[in-house]
Symmetry: C2
Subunit: 157 residues, 2 copies
């Protein structure tokens, strides 16, 4: 079942970028997804990591759950509810990684302290560069947007 | 020179994800970057593609220019100013691609019409999967965030 926009209105209905951004394109939603990937579970975890106001956090968690990005489950350790990413939520990893790697390259002075991502051997995660079918590095200059007719809409899904 | 946050305040100063999201984490800024990658140049181009209100568009273009993501240049075809991505702006390609590919997978019903991205041979752009140094597909489950001390801040830049 695809994620839906609760209001039923998409900014640009045929564009997958715009649909994703309609669902996730605000600072707090993206930071909540980041924190869920980094182990945040309880309302308090998210509140402490982001510093977000409680009413805004509650609204964003509700929206992300309605969009199928997180789910609210019983805590294995008590009576409270906790939040975890759905599979669709986990698939946002390339989005968060791309923001991280752009930020590392473009928002810090040389030598300035920052967090980074390592794999489970402790090795730094290399820069992710999208590749074409023949291995060519892809950029906005050697790709273009085309419109698929309705019947071909799931050809690459 | 790194991108800066005009207000001088970062939500989470050591996190590159948070810095990127502070600069770009709103729907209109991300759609403006998308449209610039897709060939939008003039104020009117952006206005028509996004349907954004003119005053909001003007403010977002000004912010993206202040953050070093786009630049305002003389039009080669007339007296007007046009906008183009800086090199830092072009490096947002993996961010826009990740939103696109997540949107294609998770926000459309099977067969529903949507745009997609092709390379300069017309081939569909394959799903971009981040890989570790040894070629292992990376996810939020087999990576973790570590904090680099100040002196190591540019080790992976």
């Amino acid at each position: 079942m695809p994620a839906t926009n609760e209001g039923g209105h998409w900014t640009d209905a045929e564009c997958p970028v715009a649909r994703s951004v309609d669902l996730l394109g605000d600072r707090w939603s993206l930071l909540i997804v980041r924190d869920a990937m980094d182990g945040a579970r309880s309302f308090t975890d998210f509140q402490q990591r982001t510093g977000i106001a409680r009413n805004i956090l509650a609204e964003r968690l509700r929206r992300l759950a309605a969009h199928g990005v997180i789910e609210r489950i019983d805590s294995p350790h008590g009576k409270r509810k906790v939040y975890r990413l759905t599979e669709a939520g986990h698939e946002l990893f390339p989005v968060i990684l791309a923001f991280r790697q752009w930020g590392e390259r473009h928002t810090f002075a040389p030598g300035e302290a920052h967090s980074t991502l390592v794999d489970d051997t402790g090795a730094l995660v290399p820069r992710a560069i999208p590749l074409g079918p023949d291995g060519t590095p892809l950029t906005s200059r050697n790709t273009r947007v085309v419109h698929l007719p309705r019947s071909g809409g799931d050809a690459d899904a």
